[in-house]
Symmetry: C2
Subunit: 502 residues, 2 copies
């Protein structure tokens, strides 16, 4: 007997297949496609996206959802089936509200905005980019107007990346975080830490080999993963058995390649850990980008730049350096890796200053959306906040307000998930320390299996079933909080600077 | 004003986009995908194929075709528009005749047949494979029964790979070819030619570099091509600006890598040469596999193994061999490359014996389809024809009747296109010699531009507009013929064996 549920699953599986195809085409475009292929690839991607969207918002989907809803009524609220129906219903309702014409305009604006951004950034001329950004903002407001149940316009945007997130809540968290970080950064930013251990010249082949070893310890296997080089590192997956990550190696700065790889592998492990039963459903990929980022940043910073992993790493780097790192102790490496050094570019920021780059963007995005700030004033607003939060002067808009791709593509409301990821990582990390008392020793020995299995069991396997709030409720029994992340930073920085921060 | 033609083109462009996506997923599966990804990839490919098929055979397509047909009535029969409508109408009529359930069964049988073939071949046990082959044959007969206007059942199959081809015509050509080749092979097969120049050990990196150089001379560019290593070489394209070829290098047998690359690049040049105006239409890819194969085999054998290119190749191989080829003259290399050496495996056959491998399969396929031969008798029928045509004994079914993948995947009617490609190459080659008197000197100097441009102008740009018969009519003003290919072989072999063959 074909139940509505099984028909719904069949329909959603086909939509997942289209999404799989689109993701492969994107990966190929970024990793393997010859340059001239981009025009026809753009057509193919647009067609796939349109067909996927049309199939999803078809009235048939709605009817099946309704029928399936009554079939799962008696099931536990947290069951795969009940969650599948409720999450899909939520997406369906959202998707139906956005007219196809607006969706197409948003996609088009993203594409022309990207090109304008590349040109404006290379000319270091914000006025070339401003009209496109204005267009993105206008369309974003139109998008927000498609919805009516929200407290703040920004909440509509945030919800696309962080389901259930609200700007009031994020603002409260970020205000608390800012109150901790700004004085901490001011206190430490002038202290000298020798950065030279990071800038030893390492042969690229050796760096690649080291990254390979670390990835395999994290869980990378040849049967189910790929690891490639790209200019902009990223992770993607086409199901749990085909996970792909990239990084960029730099011969005079090893953290770029190694920590890029660990970061993306953190994302990849999340994708790979999703339960088999959720594959080819709308729950097969994690939904909260904050949760996703908590994984990548935990592996990159909590593990990768931690004192214990440093013990594992140091002898390998000494060997890799062919003598150049001789005499530089593990402690000096650890200090260099974690020094508080305010810098212009978010992507290259240290663990401590990173979150302030996000707070700044979050504040500006809201002010722009609520017409409290005009684009004409945006560069100066950016620069003055960089001064206030990080104590640095911005010499050019190219390395200031135009440094990130997101706004060019109309991705407004995305940035907060990066810093929320740090906060969640802090909360999970404290719980992990309690649950796995041997973990520090394991990490020092390069044994990462215990941590990976804990994350699989507590986080990964649930895929897109839970919001970050719901997941934290289950795992640490509290809402998202600032304290654990700040405690983590202060403990580490006390160690780096030989201080007692609290 | 949106004409029916422009609406039709829009619809077909979306179908081309879905086909682009499927082709990328196939390429990825063969070149880059981690092994465990195959299960979800299979689902995604099946969904894409189903959606593409459903959209194509929808009644809307038929209505648009009808309306567009009246719009193009006044246009020249050979115009892009008229050809687009007539070719698409033909495909539409064919596709509508095959029930979706049968199409799905054929796809499923292909997949299980492939697995059975791999297992049976590795166990060298034809009885393990026979039931699957029987199933493929039964389904193939069902497929044939979907059509009613044909002279022989085999014609229905042939038409899928070689539009307009008939078995009566192919049989007449192959009988003529057989009458020439069998005595020629018998006359030459016992003569000794030293094969050792082919088996010098060449470093793989050097082989790759040589192949790279040759490909670039043929027309390969980094902007629009990729060149990768795979176990089974193939070519594919996603439009004229994204062409991908692969080969397999073998350290003690350089022809495998180099000629595999030239062969696939021949296919790739055909794809790349299709006119811009035909992109994203059903005419964007060449349709006749015989024409396609005429290109790959011309580059591989007429050019690559020709006397003139040998002049270009020889000094490079001497250098590559690091001294091992010192003292082996260009003539010895040329002889080794073209010796008539009957062998078991089609894929590795020399230029002269190759076509007999095809004639053999063509004859067996027809007998199977017409119940003149049972599967129980197939291996012995294979072996006795190998004896008759090539004078060799088949020691095992793995290297005999089970050597090729095609039948396992239900591809019956495909093989003839390989030998037809040789014949067409012969015809085009004679015309090219007349049109380009300087070509031999150019090839000896490694300048392949003149040939490429001739092929672009006379063959490639037409994409899928013409059948092989129509194209030959335009270019050489005669139907497909055996004479030129045989003359080419005899001239070359006279040179190799220092005889006067005619």
């Amino acid at each position: 007997m074909a139940t509505a549920m099984s028909e719904l699953k069949q329909r959603l599986a086909e939509i997942a297949d289209l999404s799989h195809a689109g993701a492969v085409l994107h990966w190929d475009q970024n990793v393997t496609m010859p340059a001239k292929g981009s025009s026809q690839r753009g057509d193919a991607l647009a067609t796939l996206a349109r067909i996927e969207h049309d199939r999803f918002i078809a009235a048939d989907t709605g009817r099946l959802l309704e029928a399936a809803a009554s079939e799962v009524e008696a099931m536990p609220e947290d069951s795969d089936e009940a969650r599948l129906v409720s999450k899909t219903q939520r997406d369906y309702d959202k998707a139906r509200r956005v007219p196809s014409a607006l969706a197409a305009e948003l996609a088009k604006a993203a594409s022309s905005g990207y090109e304008a951004w590349v040109a404006a950034r290379s000319a270091d001329d914000f006025s070339m980019f401003a009209p496109y950004l204005q267009n993105n903002l206008d369309l974003t407001r139109e998008y927000v107007d498609c919805f009516d149940e929200y407290d703040a316009p920004y909440d509509v945007l945030l919800d696309d990346y962080e389901p259930g997130g609200t700007s009031v809540h994020v603002r409260a968290l970020f205000d608390e975080l800012k109150a901790e970080l700004v004085p901490l950064i001011a206190q430490l930013r002038e202290r000298q830490v020798d950065p030279s251990p990071l800038h030893v010249a390492y042969p690229l082949a050796g760096q690649r080999q080291l990254a390979d070893e670390v990835l395999r310890r994290m869980g990378f296997t040849d049967e189910a993963w790929r690891f490639d080089d790209t200019v902009h590192p990223f992770a993607t997956s086409f199901g749990r058995d085909d996970v792909r990550i990239t990084t960029r190696f730099q011969d005079d700065y090893f953290p770029m390649g190694l920590y890029g790889a660990m970061h993306e592998c953190g994302h990849g492990l999340y994708e790979q850990g999703v339960a088999e039963a959720l594959q080819r459903t709308p729950l097969s990929h994690p939904r909260s980008l904050a949760l996703h980022e908590s994984q990548s940043r935990m592996w990159e910073n909590f593990v990768g730049r931690g004192r214990e992993f440093n013990e594992f790493l140091h002898p390998r780097l000494v060997e890799l350096s062919g003598g150049a790192l001789e005499g530089v102790g593990a402690g000096a490496l650890f200090k260099a890796l974690n020094a508080v050094k305010p810098s212009l570019i978010r992507f290259e920021a240290d663990e401590t200053t990173y979150s302030m780059h996000i707070v700044l963007r979050f504040e500006l995005e809201q002010e722009l959306l609520e017409d409290k700030l005009t684009l004409a004033d945006l560069p100066e607003a950016w620069n003055s906040r960089m001064r206030d939060y990080l104590g640095i002067e911005v010499p050019s808009d190219a390395d200031g307000v135009m440094q990130d791709v997101h706004w060019s593509a109309g991705l407004i409301g995305y940035f907060p998930t990066y810093a929320l990821g740090n906060l969640i990582a802090g909360q999970l990390w404290e719980k992990i320390q309690r649950d796995l008392p041997d973990l520090p020793a394991q990490i020092a020995a390069g044994d990462l299996r215990g941590l990976r299995e804990w994350l699989r069991e507590n986080v990964h396997r649930h895929g897109g079933k839970f919001s970050s709030r719901e997941l934290l409720e289950r795992v640490v029994n509290e809402p998202i909080a600032v304290g654990p992340f700040v405690r983590h930073l202060k403990a580490k920085l006390s160690d780096v600077y030989e201080l007692s921060l609290s």
